[in-house]
């Protein structure tokens, strides 16, 4: 994995949006906590925020299952930002095991930085 994190001028900010969490197949909060730690371990200066009013560089949608309640609406309202969507055991259109979600997310995020 290559990532030009040393070249960032200001902190890269990711807006985190959660689905409602009615019956999640994955632990959504744990995904975000682990992602934050994973990015930090790699020395990446990335901020994750759930504040909806803040300007962000990209949006991470965290849906608890493949149905992805949040997806269409969120993509519309965040129009213009790059979006990564976790849909249960899927990241965007790729099937992944829950344990591999963080690895895939870091790869995707790096491709946007």
């Amino acid at each position: 994995m290559t990532c030009p994190f040393g070249l960032l001028e200001s902190m890269f900010t990711i807006g985190v949006r959660y689905c409602g969490g009615c019956n999640p197949q994955i632990d959504r909060s744990r995904i975000v906590i682990d992602l934050r730690e994973g990015l930090k371990k790699m020395g990446l200066e990335v901020e994750l925020t759930t504040e909806k009013e803040r300007a962000v560089d990209m949006v991470l949608i965290v849906n608890g299952c493949k149905h992805a309640c949040l997806e269409a609406k969120q993509v519309e309202s965040d129009c213009g930002y790059p979006v990564i969507s976790v849909r249960g055991e899927m990241v965007d259109d790729q099937y992944v095991e829950e344990g591999d979600i963080i690895k895939i997310l870091i790869q995707r995020i790096c491709s946007f930085i």
Binding site: Q25, H67, D93, Q94
Partner: protein, 511 residues
């Protein structure tokens, strides 16, 4: 070619010459065979309603390949709305035919192969998906009815396909040629097989590396060389030859007209092969198909329930007991069961999701729950229907005896009901309830789209039991409860220590 009407569909079958056998005889023309008429009419309804303005909203769709209006039975679902309309279409057709209209198996096969071929290509760089899209285009352009052929004969269930004494109990590739494959084997219980234009095959179970040649999916015309059909028997099937009244549902029959399909050294060109050895995708194909198909049962069988509930109510009224409290109670029970299954199937669709191929799939857990409910509730609402209709549904005399001047008049008096209701109408309705509640429709609800054990396996696999354990552990105080700690503003141990202390203080005050 535009969408066919019901009549045009039946006429289109004259152009096919499948090798069909029934009761020991070769059937020359399926369209003219009296035993097959009800099944043809049932499938024809799927074509006919697409032309009615009052049904076209659910019976037709817009092809994602061409943008043209097509019959929904040839459509690959591209949104939640499509999945919902699919099950609405199933209920509608169940209501219109009172039986199986056969075309959903092919629809589910088309969708499952579409989804799986995309994923195979992603892994292996093959071009199955593009081939399949070209085939799908043909299906849509010609408005074909493909029979979905999944279940193999299977032989000894304890042995893998490649270990069977008779290799042909599973469909398999015998030879790989430059221009295609040669296949042999047997598919059993295939709904609508004899009156379909095409056959699309899928493996029946998860295969392993040693079963590579059994991991095969393809499409062929129903009259391809080497393909033979043996039409299956059904309860009371020859009643059709005894008289219209005796048949119960002479227009649309009873279940789907299943057949055994025997493939003997059949050549399939590569262009129509969609899986040839990718055993690691057999689970996906089987489960995707099963998911789609099991969700349907909460649509079509509920449509049948609507008919049998209506029939039971009509009979009670004709017998003069329509307002009796026990009848109202029983009808209400039937309605509640049917609508429970309907709720399940709607939920499957509304909880559907987009697959990597872009096609939408139903929620597989809910689909299996739907079907498991169907395996029980169809028996139950039919039992209540029989209860309301009474024992006459199995003791009625024949149409011939009703027409016999020596016995007809007295029989009509014997089976009369409330004044003003023609006795023949009462007998017609009783025969319909007999047809729907006593015949092959019940085990079809049990085993069609897979037996209950298959649904339980899928439910268990997808239940997420570990997550449920976590929930219980959190509430029981075994696992950290972050939300609770936020509410009380401290960690749980500190909170409960304080609570215990307060209790002690309170107790001391009381004593």
């Amino acid at each position: 070619m535009p969408m066919m009407t019901g009549r045009e569909y039946i006429e289109s079958l004259r152009a096919t010459k499948p090798e069909v056998y029934f009761l020991g005889q070769r059937i020359k023309h399926i369209v003219d065979e009296p035993m097959f008429q009800p099944h043809l009419h049932g499938a024809a309804m799927t074509y006919e309603l697409a032309h009615h303005p009052e049904y076209e909203q659910i019976m037709t769709a817009t092809s994602h390949l061409t943008g043209e209006k097509i019959n929904r039975f040839t459509h690959v679902h591209h949104g939640i709305d499509d999945l919902v309309k699919k099950v609405r279409m199933m209920r509608l057709l169940g209501q219109k035919t009172g039986t199986c209209f056969q075309r959903c198996v092919g629809l589910d096969g088309l969708n499952a192969i579409y989804v799986t071929t995309y994923d195979i290509d992603q892994k292996y760089g093959t071009d199955y998906h593009e081939r399949f899209k070209r085939y799908l285009l043909e299906v849509q352009k010609n408005d074909w009815m493909p029979a979905g052929a999944m279940t193999d004969a299977r032989g000894d269930r304890s042995l893998r396909p490649s270990k069977q004494k008779h290799p042909d109990v599973y469909l398999h590739i015998k030879e790989r040629l430059k221009d295609g494959v040669i296949v042999s084997g047997t598919k059993a219980h295939i709904t609508g097989a004899i009156n379909s234009h095409e056959i699309i095959t899928m493996p029946t179970r998860t295969m392993t590396e040693e079963d590579r040649d059994y991991s095969v999916s393809f499409a062929i015309p129903a009259d391809a060389k080497g393909v033979m059909f043996v039409f299956s028997r059904q309860t009371n099937d020859t009643r059709r030859l005894d008289g219209v009244l005796d048949a119960g549902n002479p227009k649309y029959g009873i279940v789907g007209g299943e057949a055994v399909i025997i493939f003997q050294n059949v050549f399939v060109p590569w262009e129509r092969v969609f899986m040839a050895g990718e055993y690691d995708f057999t689970t996906e194909l089987v489960e995707t198909f099963a998911g789609y198909h099991r969700s349907n049962y909460g649509g079509c069988k509920v449509g049948l329930a609507d008919v049998v509930i209506g029939g039971s109510s009509w009979i009670a009224e004709a017998h003069g007991i329509g307002k009796a409290s026990h009848i109202v109670d029983k009808l209400t029970e039937m309605i509640a069961m049917a609508e429970t299954c309907w709720s399940c199937t709607l939920a499957c669709s509304y909880e559907g999701y987009r697959t990597p191929s872009g096609a939408y799939h139903i929620n597989p857990l809910l689909a299996n729950v739907t079907k498991l409910n169907i395996t029980r509730m169809v028996y139950e609402w039919m039992r209540v229907g029989q209860d309301i209709a009474g024992g006459k549904i199995i003791t009625l005399p024949s149409e011939k005896d009703l027409n016999n001047p020596a016995s007809g008049k007295v029989l009509e008096e014997c089976f009369s009901g409330k004044d003003g209701v023609p006795p023949r109408d009462i007998i017609k309705m009783l025969r319909l309830i007999e047809n729907m509640s006593v015949g092959a429709g019940l085990p079809e609800a049990m085993h069609g789209a897979g037996s209950p054990a298959a649904q339980k396996i899928m439910i268990e696999r997808r239940s997420g039991i570990e997550k449920k354990i976590e929930l219980a552990e959190t509430i029981a105080g075994i696992r950290k409860d972050r939300d609770f700690e936020t509410i009380v503003g401290k960690d749980e141990k500190t909170h409960w220590d304080e609570v215990r202390k307060k209790i002690e203080e309170r107790r001391a005050q009381i004593h």
